[in-house]
Symmetry: C2
Subunit: 151 residues, 2 copies
């Protein structure tokens, strides 16, 4: 046996240490990846769970409104629908949903022109009427406002 051979079989302490660190780091990395994938799935279901929990009382209110309808209690039915509307609108607002403004000029980034009409009062390019409200979520357009524009 040569001296060199012996050295390869018994690596010096520092080499062993670096190898150990490499193995530990690789194991940590692997564990982290597994945990991250698990957490990702949990985060999604938790985020949804929070929303779902808020939607269930709204379903309750709808059921109550339907019961009122069946008993021809029109005033209660109407009040119930108003309550449901307010609850759902407020839930969406808390989620960061905002109604797109339609007072003023047509903006192709947030509006969709369904029709162009001549108008005596409005300037060309003004929004004349809203066919369907539009909404943003954060800085994204969830749905453009569908509008009629002045020619």
């Amino acid at each position: 046996m040569t001296d060199e051979h012996v050295e390869q079989q018994q690596p010096r302490e520092e080499e062993q240490e670096v190898d150990d660190r490499l193995l530990r780091l690789a194991a940590d990395f692997d564990n982290y990846k597994k945990r991250a994938a698990r957490e990702r799935a949990e985060y999604v279901s938790l985020a949804n769970e929070r929303l779902v929990k808020e939607l269930i009382p709204i379903l309750d209110d709808l059921e109550r409104a339907l019961n009122a309808a069946e008993q021809h209690e029109e005033a209660q039915l109407e009040e119930g629908v108003r309550l449901v509307y307010r609850s759902l609108a407020s839930l969406l607002e808390r989620q960061g949903v905002k109604e797109i403004a339609t007072d003023g000029k047509f903006d192709p980034h947030v509006h969709e022109a369904l029709l162009a009409q001549p108008s005596e009062e409005a300037a060309p390019g003004d929004v004349l009427d809203v066919i369907q409200k539009g909404y943003t979520l954060g800085d994204r357009v969830v749905r453009p406002a569908r509008v009629i524009v002045a020619e």
Copy 2:
């Protein structure tokens, strides 16, 4: 300079290679952590966005129902509420929400007893009446069913 000193300043090739692998692995790990945190936030907002997008048409239908109410079109109002109820119930179902069964024995895991009443027809411990429906999401109880139990 001793021979040993020279060896420390110029590590052998294998050592250099292990050091490089260690550095690369550490850098990969770090990048992975940053990406995972970013993805986690994106997943949550995407998951919510999907739900939010499904809720907006329900808000539209509620608005239409309210318009019908204002114009005293009672039949249209009632039909609108039914539509909203079906949409929301189906959305929750697709999210994995299930109504808790209440036909049979009281089950403390999914039921909450609000009251115990004597009953001639039902066996002791049977659910007599449901005050508020309960729901599960996957294997979790979102809300227990609130019931009246036979004594």
